[in-house]
Amino acid sequence: MSLVKTSYGRRSFLKSTAMAGGGLMLGFSWLASCKPSPEQVLDMPKEWFEINGYLKIGDNGLVTIMSPNPEIGQNVKTSMPMLVAEELDVDWKKVIVEQAPLNTDIFTRQIAGGSQSIRQGWDGLRMAGASAKQMLKEAAAKEWEVPVSEITTKESMIYHEGSGKSAEYGEMASKAANIAVPEEVELKDKSNFSIIGTSRKNVDGKKIVTGKPLFGLDYREEGMLTAMIIHPPAFGMKLKSLDASEAKGMSGIKDVFKFKTFEDGHTYGMFDETAFPEMIAVVGESVWQVMNARKKVKAEWEPFESHSNTFMGWSGDNTFEKAVPAGKENSPAHVEKMKKVAVQSAETVRKDGDPEKAFKNAAKVIERSYTAPFLAHNTMEPMNFFANVTDTEAKLVGPIQTPEFMEKSIAARLGLPLDKIDLQMTRQGGGFGRRLYGHFVVEAAVISKEMKAPVKLVYTREDDMSYGNYRPAYHALYRAALDEDNNLIGFHVRAGGIPESPLFANRFPAGAIENYLAESWTIDSNITVGAFRAPRSNFIAGAEQSFLDEVAEAAGKDPIEFRLDLLDKAQKAPVGENNDYEAKRYAGVLKLVREKSNWENGAGENVHRGVSAYFCHNSYVANVLDLVMEDDKPVVEKVYCAVDCGIVVNPIAATNLVEGGSVDGIGHAMFSGLTFKDGVPEQKNFDRYRLIRHSEAPKAIDVHFVKSDIDPTGLGEPPFPPIMGALANALYKATGQRHYDQPYISNKEIIG
């Protein structure tokens, strides 16, 4: 058991409690807008008693728990409330979960990003549950006139053993609402967890499989219009002129106009970036009418001049400039440029020992280069947002990973105070980083303001794919120096990209090699990029793990043994000081995957295996991938995953995420890529952009977690990057050829 304070720094963690004056009425007006799930089979209580901002308890014992963070498929809407429920000691069957409103006074970090929801919510969410439980206990102690220390709780029941008294939570809820928030609460010993660590199914599962309105695209209000955009046909271009006369006269069309998402000279918020700050809006009664009218809009476009945009940093206190060069870019030219830059020395980010000397004295030097193309996020639900903007306030509803940031952007753009912006989160049909960048939220607001009407902005798949914040194109050059005894004595990575570098200079194998050099470079581009599931790791893991495989082979060592030897050194005698991983846990997942895949005995005849391991977003994942060749095509028979994310909060969902990350990683490494011709994306829909499909998925995925009582870390991103290395290494075994350039399989073959 541990005692924790219920305040963080200057602000009280649990603000809302004492609000329930008289003990009966709810404290916050926003709670009134949270309707219980309609299909909930439990009887609704007559009254709800708000205990704190995270939860309310009904007079019949039903508990509503607010899930603070955006739900993008990472299952936080189930797993975050589980943390509250655990400490509250509530019967999970009596829990209703609701998406919390955006309120960063109460909820900290309402962001879906960086796989941080569980990790950063771990203390706060448990504290919310524990505080409420303490208040229920104190209410009971007062009522029964017994010391609170003698009160116990279990599964929504309060007990006093000495007097034999007991009560359900619902019976004490109104009294608990009047108890002051405890200044300190006790958190459970991990060995006493009864909800955390047990499988709880997706709280929205029933709604999903029955097609209930859940997503942003499903949201509607009376009188709502549909808006679509027309953006410049190529990166590097802007709007010159618009002739909307024909489109405006079409059936159901309300207006066609050009608009600026941001005013010229605007200082962009951290997540405001847009390639096309001026576009055309087509607004009408229904999607099909607007789609047809879009075809009749005549617009002229022109190249823009080189310029730079000013962005606010994460904290909002600092700004930085981003260069936007003129020109219409081409993918073959990108590759050539990257190859050219990669042979020149670049910015040194980390240097240990004397790498120049190590390479000079090496008995063997291995040098290899790896590339990967731009990727479009392709969330299955295209970008969209609802906006209803009036002169005095704005309501926005939809899928966004950064609601707090976008609320500020909207307020700034509309010139309204922050408290007049009501931004509500829906369930999101995928995020993968795309919905961190909310230009579409601002676009919806600007269009609504112009129309003086509620609108829902809807992107087509083509809009979505050709107007992205893409995964950058990357290049990495690796060099390894082996001595006469095949010891790895020097390591050099020089990595860069368009327009961002994928380098993590302090990650493995940094720390394990005496002489180490990491260099980084970038090439400016007007193609907008952003975070994509496990940013940077989503390329560098595959490259690094392929390279290490090749180095192990050159050294005549087993690839797992080779990695473990390095990790052993990193653990016992680490080189350098800022090594960004725990070597022991890293080795732990490799050992686990070795055991579970029966590595020593091999996979069997004609089955080709590859291994990899990687650390990112605070979690460790190792993979062994088995593939066979059928009709000269690789078929993934089985994937073994070993994962260390500390405590596994919800095993069934965690396993799902690891399976999905593996499938997603295999798919992108094998098939996906976005190429440009004269600034125009050459793939705009799934007829040419290839995502992995059913028949290409692994036939089996075997997921194992390292048993741990370390505080939990995230799982949205970590399972995605390493599998690419295991795939490349298995492909080598199968074909005798190393694969250096993603996608590994030609993108030309189109499934129709």
Binding site: S251, M380, A653, G752
Partner: protein
Amino acid sequence: MSNYTININGKDKQVDVDPSTPMLWVLRDHLQMVGTKFGCGIAQCGACTIHIDDVAVRSCQLPVSAVGDQEITTIEGLSEEGDHPVQQAWLEHDVPQCGYCQAGQIMSATALLKNNPNPSDTDIDQAMNGNICRCGTYTRIKAAIKTAAKTV
């Protein structure tokens, strides 16, 4: 604009729309039945899958004028209580991650099982290959289809 009477989930519905309007948008925009999802608009992702006389069809490529008196089933009409064996299997396996593609997956799976109650892995792959899941829940979907096959 033209008037159409369409049988959806056993009930006649009337809409006044352009004849070229895809059923996807008739359902979503005009009948407020939003369980059928928009994913690509060119019949490549399967999110908009519905049944026409028990056959899986991509509703984004089906103009309302082509429906005639054929019977349409959508995810909302698959079962009254949401307890169709395929839906139950989806819950049992806790299939969804983001959940957006799952209505389409379920409609494709249901049509498959109707015509082929005991599908092999290859049958499943073939029937489901038009349904993309970016979250990568394919292995769970396959397991759920096999579970459902035992009860359909």
